[in-house]
């Protein structure tokens, strides 16, 4: 199918370390001033003398700054390790790749679980409502701090794609290209609905205690259920059938509603694992930011994109029913109408929304060539 094989398994960026950038704060989209803000970030590759080879990689809902390589003493690779490294799509021999944890997150950046300097306690629900644009505003501060005037590209899947669109629309002069993957220009009612069920699960957990659970038991059950719902929407009917079938687990029945089927066990495992690494309040804040996202702010999308010189590569996946093709096509159409140079490809994948993390060969081909032709 694709001519060039890629050695995604082999070429790692090696041992990496998170860094932290703290700044006074920023004016949120809501008008509120918020600070100080810390962003956790990692970088891979070397910034060239002209500072023209920087690519900002943007993570999805549950992602973090650790996109590639491994941390000292740990062997878990970054969430997009197959895409970032020497000879990979984001070739670290050529490009300087930056990934930061979003504002509102819980992996080193300021979020609801961070200490509020005014009270010396975690913010919890005193944390302000943030938006995708606020996440991008914070990233812009980081990029400026790194001395970069103009990014070669901003790229991300899902929520990362929304941040890429935010960069494209709000800072068009700061990016030479944008690669929104498996994403949308605005959250649909269905997407909002799934997120709302997740939030209700968290808030229904008695341990949530209006968000003030820090230092005590955390709402693990609620967060795990939210994650389970998420995982269902990230897969497809086909990928579930292929992965689990109607296979039953062989463990003995403890009670009537034990997880009998493989798929049940998988979801429970995913849910239970997630609570170890994610903060429930962050989940609430970030999903709200997703739901409020509408890059066109009620205007015509094509009007919002008018005059943008950056090139755009829109990638979607045929079996993605959470961010269906029509949403990517809408981005593409708006680009065409506004005269923005845009390429669009719908990759034939059965993985559902998760495909953006899994269809490495196809993405590598598209993104690799797209970036090469920008230089």
């Amino acid at each position: 199918m694709i001519e060039e094989p890629n050695d995604s398994q082999k070429n790692s960026v090696g041992i990496v370390k998170a860094e932290y950038f703290t700044f006074d704060g920023l004016k949120l989209e809501s008008g509120e001033k918020f600070g100080p803000v810390t962003l956790a970030y990692e970088t891979y590759g070397v910034l060239d003398k002209k500072k023209s080879n920087a690519i900002l990689v943007l993570h999805s809902l549950s992602g973090d700054a650790h996109a590639a390589g491994a941390h000292e003493g740990q062997d878990n690779p970054g969430w997009w390790d197959a895409m970032i490294g020497p000879g990979k799509a984001f070739d670290t021999d050529k490009y300087y790749v930056i990934c930061s944890n979003v504002l509102g997150g819980c992996k080193g950046s300021t979020g609801p679980s961070s200490i509020n300097p005014k009270t010396n306690k975690p913010y919890a629900l005193d944390f302000p409502l943030i938006s995708i644009n606020d996440m991008a505003s914070a990233q812009k501060r980081l990029v400026e701090h790194l001395g970069i005037e103009k990014l070669l590209s901003v790229v991300g899947g899902s929520m990362g794609g929304m941040q890429a669109l935010s960069w494209l629309v709000r800072y068009p002069e700061k990016v030479r290209s944008a690669i929104p993957i498996a994403t949308t220009a605005r959250h649909s009612p269905q997407q909002i609905a799934f997120n709302e069920v997740g939030r209700q699960a968290i808030m229904a957990d008695p341990d949530w205690r209006s968000g003030n659970y820090y230092g005590g038991a955390s709402p693990d059950k609620g967060l795990a259920v939210a994650r389970m719902i998420g995982h269902i929407t990230y897969m497809s009917d086909t990928s579930m059938a292929e992965k689990f079938g109607r296979q039953k687990k062989d463990s003995a029945r403890e009670f009537k509603f034990t997880a009998d089927f493989e798929v049940e066990g998988y979801l429970r495992y995913r849910g239970d694992n997630f609570v170890k690494r994610f903060d429930a309040n962050s989940y609430l804040y970030i999903t709200k930011a997703l739901d409020n996202f509408d890059i066109s702010q009620g205007r015509q999308l094509a009007d919002v994109l008018q005059g943008i010189k950056a090139k755009v590569l829109v990638i979607a996946f045929k079996s993605d029913w959470l961010y269906p093709l029509y949403q990517s096509k809408e981005i593409l159409k708006a680009c065409k109408l506004s005269g923005v140079e845009a390429t669009y490809c719908a990759i034939n994948s059965t993985y559902g929304h998760d495909a953006f993390l899994l269809e490495i060969d196809e993405e590598t081909h598209l993104i690799g060539h797209f970036l090469k032709n920008l230089l």
């Binding site: 159409k333 669009y344 719908a346 081909h365 598209l366 060539h369």
Partner: protein
């Protein structure tokens, strides 16, 4: 790229297009023609192609392409936003010829249509003497595997343009060795029309 490697229909289209024009190729395949137009004519090119694997080849050539079905229309393109819209070897494969052509004529100041001539003498020969569906010239497919939905001749398309009041600016008919001047509807394998609204 030496001239000899350029396909005869591509050669004609290269000649038809003014340097530095904007071009939209509907059904651009692997982007061969667009690449030529960009390289040799300095054209600003874009393409639409339905096949995913072909899209990968286009992207590898550095082309701006959209994966899509030209049958579903060109709603996302503004009127007269391209100097040329090309339908080369693709019109006979679309379902809705009328609406695709209408949209192409709206979006492009001029439209170039290239198609296999069904009235090519070898095709006629096969039909008449062998009684089989033609596999000849620019019609290399067996009846059961052809992507073509419409079978038209150079005369058919000329008549069509007359009926639809489409302005025919130029007709170029070619065989495997270049232009055909003598009874083109009989001896040409491919017809290329430059048309406008």
């Amino acid at each position: 790229m030496p001239n000899e490697n350029i396909k005869p229909d591509h050669k004609i289209i290269l000649q038809l297009i003014n340097p530095h024009s904007s071009v939209l190729d509907l059904g651009c395949g692997t982007g061969e023609l667009l690449h030529l137009l960009a390289q040799k004519k300095g054209a600003r090119v874009q393409g639409i192609e339905i096949d995913e694997q072909a899209i990968y080849k286009c992207v590898a050539k550095g082309l701006t392409v959209t994966q899509g079905d030209i049958d579903s229309g060109l709603a996302e393109y503004n009127s007269k936003s391209f100097d040329y819209v090309i339908l080369n070897q693709s019109l006979q494969q679309v379902r809705h010829v009328d609406s695709v052509l209408k949209d192409a004529l709206r979006v492009g100041k001029k439209v170039i249509v290239g198609f296999p001539n069904f009235a090519y003498y070898k095709a006629r020969w096969q039909m008449f003497f062998k009684g089989t569906a033609p596999v000849a010239g620019a019609l290399p497919f067996q009846w059961y595997e052809t992507p073509n939905l419409h079978f038209l001749s150079i005369s058919d398309f000329a008549n069509y343009c007359r009926v639809r009041k489409i302005n025919v600016e130029q007709v170029i008919c070619i065989g495997k060795d270049g232009r055909v001047w003598f009874f083109p509807n009989l001896f040409a394998q491919t017809g290329i029309f430059l048309i406008s609204e």
